[in-house]
């Protein structure tokens, strides 16, 4: 694993160096270079321009021109914010742009962009249609190689401009990194207010970039651990009342809320199976906590663990064949993996300290967790057999990693000593770590799947991806 990372680091540096050399030669020769330098496709089958594993020494310089038309400048701002937060792009200050009248009908004036160091140029326009909706068209060019990287047109109502900006950011991110995007997503979390002893907690949802926060509960219950289904309209969470606790299933679109069931014992730690047909959770009976799974269609309950230890925080593998959970059956909490029917339980974590709150990556390759020891708490990842453990973040207190849909970022809550709790984000290299787009007080973030499937006909009808040919 370490070796692989090292190799990809070297590869990334190699790409960057080649790209700059190319840029130089393109300028000298005043013509495009056709030399193929892209790394092999990682996921989408597209060649990639930015290696995001490790070793991106300098973020990719992208020029995001204000779109023409309604909300065009705001669209560019939202886009730039998304790309910057990803850690792999550095949008260039628009004040330095030389060419300011870009039109979708034309290619950019390449030298005017290479002159300001733009490694890519994004521009677009918002055009009204007869049906009252808008066309949001855009093109992304490589000014050094003088070719188009991608283009597309989204059509939507004018009010949806912010979402469209996120979708465009996803297209750009996917084209440049070879990874699926993460921006047309939402975060469900527990909004916190009040004092330590009189804390008000409300279920809330917000766009990934921190806009449009909406409270979904009134604060009469303490809310814990909301999680998305594979359908981003459906969530499950736990609530504590004065004298009861309950797992809810909640449809965000219809507002329908139902209890998972009344159990003999306290139920908590719910998490959907990848297809949304089952919920794994824990039930406490006689002080003992075990993992159960309920089929939502038949309401059939199955018990998966039965030892006297605390077995909780179940999380399915993306193929639904296995479940990772934490157990203190041998003393300290460790991570275990079992088959989805409860068979084959075996410990995977190897280090000292307490391992809790595991979350299986949507890519299937890694398990994120919270680890405590030495008076600190941290967020880390390990391979599914427990090897290759590395910590991505550590502080006074942090917990509960939730994966971005592309398995490249984790969001978690971090509390300062004696202070507030906020949502933080870290990428898999541990290099990009920052507060999430939502900066208010909150905990227990869960990252939604992409709200829509990514378009698969990028570039069609707008001129093909000429950089990859």
């Amino acid at each position: 694993m370490r070796l692989n990372l090292l190799l990809s680091t070297v590869a990334a540096i190699g790409i960057a160096a080649t790209s700059f050399a190319q840029a130089q030669s393109a300028r000298d020769l005043n013509g495009p270079s056709r030399q193929q330098t892209q790394a092999q496709p990682a996921q989408t089958g597209e060649p990639i321009e930015v290696e995001i594993d490790q070793g991106v020494l300098r973020p990719f310089q992208i020029a995001v021109a204000p779109f023409s038309g309604q909300n065009g400048t705001s669209i560019a701002d939202v886009l730039s914010g998304d790309l910057r937060r990803s850690g792999f792009f550095e949008p260039i200050n628009p004040a330095s742009f030389i060419e300011t009248n870009l039109s979708l009908a034309n290619a950019p004036n390449f030298p005017q962009w290479t002159q300001i160091g733009a490694q890519a140029v994004l521009y677009g326009s918002v055009t009204p249609r007869p049906d009252g909706r808008n066309d949001f068209g855009f093109r992304l060019y490589d000014p050094y190689r003088q070719c188009q990287l991608v283009s597309y047109n989204f059509t939507a109502t004018p009010e949806q401009w912010r979402r469209i900006a996120h979708k465009i950011a996803d297209v750009v991110y996917a084209r440049m990194t070879g990874e699926t995007g993460i921006f047309d997503t939402r975060i469900i979390y527990v909004a916190e207010s009040g004092t330590e002893l009189n804390r008000l907690s409300r279920l809330a949802i917000v766009d990934q970039d921190g806009y449009n926060p909406v409270f979904l509960t009134d604060g009469s219950e303490i809310i814990l651990t909301p999680r998305f289904s594979s359908n981003p309209d459906e969530i499950t969470y736990m609530a504590l009342g004065e004298d009861y606790s309950r797992i809810y299933l909640y449809n965000l679109t219809t507002g329908r809320r139902e209890s998972l069931g009344e159990f003999e014992g306290q139920a908590f730690a719910p998490r959907y199976s990848p297809d949304g047909s089952r919920v794994a959770f824990s039930i406490i009976r006689g002080g003992n906590t075990d993992v159960y799974v309920m089929n939502l269609g038949t309401r059939q309950l199955s018990r998966l663990t039965s030892d006297p230890g605390i077995d909780t925080s179940p999380s399915f593998s993306p193929d639904a064949t296995r479940i990772v959970f934490n157990s203190d059956r041998t003393g300290t909490p460790r991570l275990y993996v079992m088959n989805a029917d409860g068979s084959g339980q075996r410990p995977i974590s190897r280090g000292g300290g307490s391992y809790t709150a595991p979350a299986w990556s949507p890519r299937g390759d890694l398990i994120a967790f919270t680890k405590s020891g030495g008076g600190q708490f941290g967020i880390g990842v390990m391979n599914i057999d427990g090897s290759g453990e590395r910590m991505l973040s550590r502080s006074y207190f942090e917990e509960g990693p939730s994966w971005a849909p592309n398995g490249r970022y984790l969001m978690f809550s971090r509390q300062t000593r004696g202070g507030n709790t906020n949502l933080w984000m870290v990428d898999l290299s541990g290099r990009v770590i920052a507060q999430s787009g939502y900066q208010g007080r909150g905990s227990d973030p869960a990252w939604s799947p992409l709200l829509d499937e990514s378009p698969n006909n990028l570039g069609v009808g707008q001129g093909a991806d000429s950089c990859s040919s």
């Binding site: 303490i222 504590l240 002080g287 906590t289 709150a357």
Partner: protein
């Protein structure tokens, strides 16, 4: 006798008083600085002392069999060591007293609420709080309280009683609380 729970209570009152003092608005200085006198008397931030009479009296210790009787004279909370859920010997007298009190008032039902400090992850702490509640429940059952009168719930780290990131407040937040559900006077 000053019980631990009473100490907590007084400590909290002290904290509230302190924080109120800290939040008291500062006197505006403009009027003083230019020699025109103190703050205007109609400033709503400076309420007068009020005209109502003030009466006093002893705080009751609760009618026998009341919730107040239980809280004040028996004690409704015991504390646990770090990462531990076994009832410590220091807690025996109070739980013995709880059992005796519950024997005296057999119509009363209770709910044992297990609590954890903030130095743990949310779900694990729920499970830990449940173990603490169960330990207390088992102790009371051993002392003759019928199982059917004792419900349990874990609040994990969600219901702290002491604020501040100190060993002392964490210790107080690792507790089991015996709450009267029904049957009290």
């Amino acid at each position: 006798m000053m019980t631990a729970s009473n100490m907590t209570r007084f400590a909290l009152v002290g904290l509230v008083a302190l924080s109120m003092a800290a939040c008291a608005p500062r006197r505006p200085v403009t009027g003083v600085a230019d020699g025109t006198g103190g703050p205007a008397i109609d400033n709503p931030a400076y309420p007068g002392p009020g005209n109502g009479g003030i009466d006093g009296g002893n705080i009751g210790s609760g009618a026998p069999g009341s919730e107040q009787d239980f809280v004040v004279n028996v004690g409704d909370r015991i504390y646990f060591d770090l990462d531990s859920y076994s009832v410590s010997p220091e807690a025996y007298p109070r739980l013995d007293a709880q059992a005796a009190w519950l024997a005296r008032y057999p119509q009363i039902t209770v709910r044992i609420e297990g609590n954890a400090d903030e130095r743990g992850t949310r779900e694990y702490n729920l499970a830990l709080g449940a173990r603490r509640a169960e330990s207390i429940r088992n102790y009371l059952i051993e002392r003759g309280v019928s199982a059917g009168r004792i419900d349990t719930i874990s609040f994990g780290k969600e219901r702290p009683i002491a604020e501040g990131a100190t060993e002392d407040s964490w210790a107080r937040n690792r507790n089991g609380h015996t709450a009267i559900v029904s049957g009290a006077q």
